[in-house]
Point group: C2
């Protein structure tokens, strides 16, 4: 048991060091050797946990998904916020800001790396759908939401939000965003089957 | 004027030959030389039109988008089909079957090539949104659809359909599909603001 735990600790040390290096030096500019130096381990130890630098980046991306899901879970705990707003705020809180780590974000969004983007998206959808199921089912029970397919509705909202606002798939101009966000919230209201205007508080945040 | 036209004809010859080769031999197994032989041109002529084999593949993907959009436009012409069904059938008709060209589809869906998938998606969204705007605006005018943001509604429907059913982003099992398709059609009804059950004809196509 002890060894397993130590192994997990070691793996985490590598991830933390690599993440810091990717952020400060850039992903391309960081070598496996740089990581070894910071963690103070032998090459063999590194390759026991990861087969390549790219695999480290993939593990970091899964960490980012996990961190986002936990932020979302925290937001959902605050029962003082009306349910539907809480759900949308949880989705927003989930979005990785890549705290200061533009390097990782950039790496993920590079054309060569849409593979990593896809990895992020799949992991995020899997992790976040159950997180949102609880509040959505609560909304249905309280007669605030009306839908036949709650899971699929959540999947669609997460997917649309990600593709439109994190992935820039439409290449909208900055000035388009207020309208696009409102349209998105309007579609969310419809899919959840809320009263019209239930998301007005959020919509107003994005001006006229 | 004549030269421009001849250039376009030559470019098209290269595309047709390359597409046939990619389909019959596979993309990886096809070299620029193979293409030169079929079209019977010099290397310099090829590189006048394309900078690489990959650029040819990109041009083929744009062709696939164009062909899909034309199929959709044709479907929309058949006024005997009720409007909302016609719109959904146009979206389905647009989906590339890659007529026999599993090779191109495979190439596009390879993890290394999510870049091509993104290229396809962006081009498809740009090309198809205006195609669907006309019938959707007609539906609004005829009081069949009710929505505040028609363009964004079309964008969302196209994006969801593509990501869920062409891209396999959720990695659903075969047996999940009937439910997922119904849930999708149900969300489409809500976003378009049709009468409930307006898409029942289509839904019934996907069994119970």
């Amino acid at each position: 048991m002890k060894t397993v735990k130590e192994g997990e600790v070691r793996r985490r040390e590598i991830l933390v060091a690599a993440r810091e290096l990717f952020v400060s030096k850039g992903y391309e500019q960081t070598s496996v050797n740089d990581i070894l130096k910071v963690v103070d381990i032998a090459k063999g130890t590194f390759y026991y946990y990861f087969s390549s630098k790219e695999e480290v980046l993939e593990a970091i991306i899964l960490d980012i998904v996990e961190e986002g899901a936990r932020r979302a879970e925290n937001v959902l705990k605050d029962k003082s916020v009306p349910l539907v707003n809480r759900i949308m705020m949880a989705i927003m809180a989930q979005t990785p800001e890549f705290e200061g780590s533009d390097e990782i974000k950039e790496e993920m969004h590079k054309v060569e790396n849409t593979k990593l983007e896809r990895l992020y998206l799949r992991a995020m959808l899997k992790r976040m759908t159950p997180v949102l199921e609880e509040p959505v089912l609560e909304g249905i029970e309280r007669d605030m939401f009306h839908m036949e397919y709650p899971t699929e509705c959540i999947e669609s909202i997460l997917l649309l939000g990600h593709m439109m606002f994190d992935c820039d798939v439409f290449e909208w101009k900055m000035e388009d965003y207020p309208k696009k966000i409102k349209a998105f919230l309007c579609n969310v209201e419809k899919m959840l089957g809320t009263k019209e205007g239930e998301l007005n508080v959020l919509m107003n945040m994005f001006g006229q």
